[in-house]
Amino acid sequence: MINRTVASVKEALTGLEDGMTLMVGGFGLSGIPENSIAQLVKLGVTDLTCISNNAGVDDFGLGLLLQGKQIKKMISSYVGENDEFERQMLSGELDVELVPQGTLAERCRAAQAGIPAFYTPAGYGTEVAEGKEERDFNGKPHILEQAFKADFAFIKAWKGDTAGNLIFKGTARNFNPVMCGAATITVAEVEELVPAGELDPNQIHISGIFVKRIFQGEKYEKRIEQRTTRVRS
C-alpha cells in the first residue's frame, strides 16, 4: 500500500505559490475544503486562478480569499450570493470566466482522464461559444471544449484512508470527485481518516491513485447557505 498521508494542512500545501491555478471542490458551501481554504488565507498567496463552481459567500469559502484579494481570476458557473465578488468583478479587479456547469464538470473530468478535448452542445450560439470551434454531430451543433490545467486541486471528502481512497457524503460529493487527479497535485481533506483496509474496496468513490496528499481536517463548520425546513405535522 502506498501511503498518501501528510501530517498537516501545512504540509499538504507545500509547493503552493503565487500565480498558481487551483481547483476547489464544493457546490455552494457544501463539500468545500474548509481547512485548505483557511490555510490558503494564512499563507497569503496571491494572483491565484480558481476553478470552482461557486465563489463562496462574503465571509466563508472562497469568499475569504476574495476578501484578501488573493484571487486574480475565477472560473465558475455561478457566482451570485457574494457582494464582494460582484464589486471586484464590476470594478475590473477580478477577472471572471463563466462556464456552463456541465462543461465545468466535464473539463475537470477530462483533465483527470487524459482527454484533451471534447464536444458538447452546451453554450452553442451563446457568448460561451465565442472563439471556439463549432461542429455538427447527429445534425446538432456542438462546440469544442478543452480539459482544464491546474497546479493544485483541493478536495473535501467524508471518509478517507491512508492509501488516499475517498468516500463522499450526499450532495457534498458534487465537483470533488471530478477534480481528483485533474491537477498536478491533488490534496484531499477528510472528516475521518482511517487505516487502509477499513473501507470496502467496492464502495470507494475515488481511488487513491488520483490523490497525492491526504489529511484529516481539524474541524468543519459546514455552514448551511439556505436553511429550509418544514413543520412537523
Binding site: 456541465g102 451563446t126 429550509t228
Partner: protein, 218 residues
C-alpha cells in the same frame, strides 16, 4: 385574472407525466413539486448531484451535506441516489432527464432563451442552465409574461445574452400557456378571465391565435 406563481406551478405540474425524471430550476419551477398529481410517479433531479429529491427536512434535521441546486437543505425519498457533477450532467446532456422546467428573463419566438446575464448589471452566471437548454428535448419556461416595467418578455428576438438557441418548447406565464412553433408563439390556453387581447398586448413576438382559446384549469 393573472395567475399567481403558485398557479403557474400548478399548471406546469399538469405537464408532468408518469415515469418522468424532472429537473427543476430555481424560483417558480421549485414550486411545481407541490402540485404533481397523486398516482403519478416522478423523480426530481437536482444538478448538484441527487436524484429522488424529497421535501424539506423537519426542523433540526437539516444536513449541510444534503442540499439542492438552490443550496436549500432537502431530504431524499426511497430509491434516491447521489452522484458527482460530471455524472449529473451526463444525465442532462445524455437526455436521460425527460423534462426541464426553468425560469427566463426573455424567450424569443424561435425558442431562444436568455436568463443568465444583464450586461453591466447582473452577472450571476449560467449555472447549469446552458447545459440544460442545449440538451433537453422538452423544456418548459415558467415566468411572468412581462417584466416589472410592464415590457413583454416574449419577444421576436432576445435582447439579452442568450442561454441557448432554438430550444424552448413551451412557456407557462401568469397570462397564458404558449407553445413554441416554427411560426412563432402559439397560444394554447388563457389564464382564467384573461382575454386574448390582453395576451396579445403583452406579447411582443408573433402570437398565433387559432380558433377558440380555452381557459387554463388551475
Amino acid at each position: 385574472m393573472s395567475l399567481s406563481k403558485e398557479q403557474i406551478a400548478k399548471r406546469i405540474a399538469q405537464e408532468v407525466k408518469d415515469g418522468y425524471y424532472v429537473n427543476l430550476g430555481i424560483g417558480i419551477p421549485t414550486l411545481v413539486v407541490n402540485y404533481v398529481p397523486d398516482g403519478i410517479d416522478v423523480e426530481f433531479q437536482s444538478e448538484n448531484g441527487v436524484l429522488g429529491m424529497g421535501p424539506f427536512p423537519y426542523e433540526g434535521e437539516e444536513d449541510a451535506d444534503i442540499i439542492n441546486a438552490g443550496k436549500q437543505t432537502i431530504t431524499t425519498l426511497p430509491g434516491a441516489s447521489f452522484f458527482d457533477s460530471a455524472t449529473s450532467f451526463g444525465m442532462i446532456r445524455g437526455q436521460h432527464v425527460d423534462l426541464t422546467i426553468l425560469g427566463a428573463m426573455e424567450v424569443a419566438e424561435n425558442g431562444d432563451i436568455a436568463n443568465w446575464k444583464i450586461p453591466g448589471k447582473m452577472v450571476k452566471g449560467m449555472g447549469g442552465a446552458m447545459d440544460l437548454v442545449a440538451s433537453a428535448e422538452n423544456i418548459i419556461v415558467a415566468m411572468m409574461h412581462t417584466n416589472r416595467a410592464g415590457e413583454s418578455k416574449l419577444l421576436k428576438r432576445c435582447t439579452l445574452p442568450l442561454t441557448g438557441v432554438n430550444c424552448i418548447t413551451k412557456v407557462v406565464s401568469n397570462l397564458a400557456v404558449i407553445e413554441i412553433t416554427d411560426k412563432g408563439f402559439k397560444l394554447l390556453e388563457r389564464a382564467p378571465g384573461v382575454s386574448v387581447e390582453e395576451i396579445q398586448k403583452a406579447t411582443e413576438g408573433t402570437l398565433i391565435v387559432e380558433g377558440e382559446i380555452p381557459e387554463m384549469n388551475v
